[in-house]
Symmetry: C2
Subunit: 169 residues, 2 copies
DNA sequence: GCCAACTGTAACTATATTTGTTACAGACGT
DNA sequence: ACGTCTGTAACAAATATAGTTACAGTTGGC
């Protein structure tokens, strides 16, 4: 389907910020966790800022943090901020208008695809960033109960549990 | 999102065959309605045949027709036949395993994306190819009540009603 | 005021996926 | 045997995302 990973990355980024609480994160730090280039992160942060999900500060000691509490950010907010189009597309080139099916299939398909999009949005609207963080918690408890630091600094390496990511990619 | 039009095209193709009833359609005819190359259609027909949605016959007087009645083909069948992956992807490169968020976000995201996929599948499972044809009918009634021919032959041009395709593309 | 540390953004390349095209072997009715 | 089809390979084109380099502009600390 050639789906993009933008949504996954956006959720990852915002989860880091929820985790970091009010501490502003630098694009370089986020990029290290996401395992990509800092510019990619900054581009995405701009989109998230336009949708009022994060606020960024330029200059020294700058960085980005959530614009509001994690429980007030739904996955739908994130989805709409970074994914421009619906789940499916119609034909690349419009069908033959001289064919009775071709001329009308677009209308029917649009209705169907709208239903699909709505279903997706309903699911995403029902989960907040806080829920994501909560689901994350059980996996990353430290021995002393203290919350682990978000960012790798190369010294402490903590790999609480190895996940098996399914064959989505 | 870079979604593909494969699903839309597949529905179009099968709708043509439902419309044509038992008459086998040639890839060239289908391509004319879809407005693409016949090889693109044949490739898709192979996939649809593998999922037992159509049967094709080689040789002269060959062509393809539905493998079963339109009411016994759901849009989910079609979707699964031509779209390989789920709606979203995870990160292109795996996140940093040394970050407590990075190492676990994949697991959480997989759960979410599975929910999304399920929602999409539930919607698609609830509509059959027959439903699509039915929704098409009101648009393409001929003056004498007879069903219009599927394929353009360059002579009779019938454009029952012009649709306004939304900005999906 | 100056420097160092950031973000925002442009311009470009790389990579991946889908779509379109040409070509041809093989199947099949007549 | 011939013409008409499908099935498939091989490749080109188009599109979208992701990654990279470079740099202007902002900000805090000195």
């Amino acid at each position: 389907m050639s789906t993009s990973s933008r949504f996954a990355v956006a959720v990852h980024v915002l989860t880091l910020m929820a985790w970091a609480d009010e501490e502003p994160l630098k694009s370089e730090q986020v990029a290290e966790s996401v395992n990509t280039n800092a510019v990619v992160i900054r581009r995405m942060l701009c989109e998230l800022a336009e949708s009022n999900l994060v606020v960024s500060q330029t200059g020294s000691m700058g960085g980005s943090k959530l614009a509001r509490l994690p429980e007030r950010i739904t996955l739908l907010d994130i989805y709409q901020a970074v994914e421009s189009r619906g789940v499916f597309s119609l034909h690349r080139h419009p069908p033959n208008p001289a064919c009775p099916v071709g001329v009308n299939i677009g209308t029917v398909l649009n209705d169907v695809l709208d239903e699909v999009d709505s279903a997706v949005e309903r699911v995403l609207a029902n989960m907040t960033l806080r829920d994501v963080v909560s689901r994350l918690q059980p996996c990353v408890s430290t021995t002393d109960g203290k919350r682990a630091s978000v960012i790798t600094n190369g010294k402490r390496k903590q790999v609480p549990r190895v996940q098996s990511v399914s064959a989505r990619n």
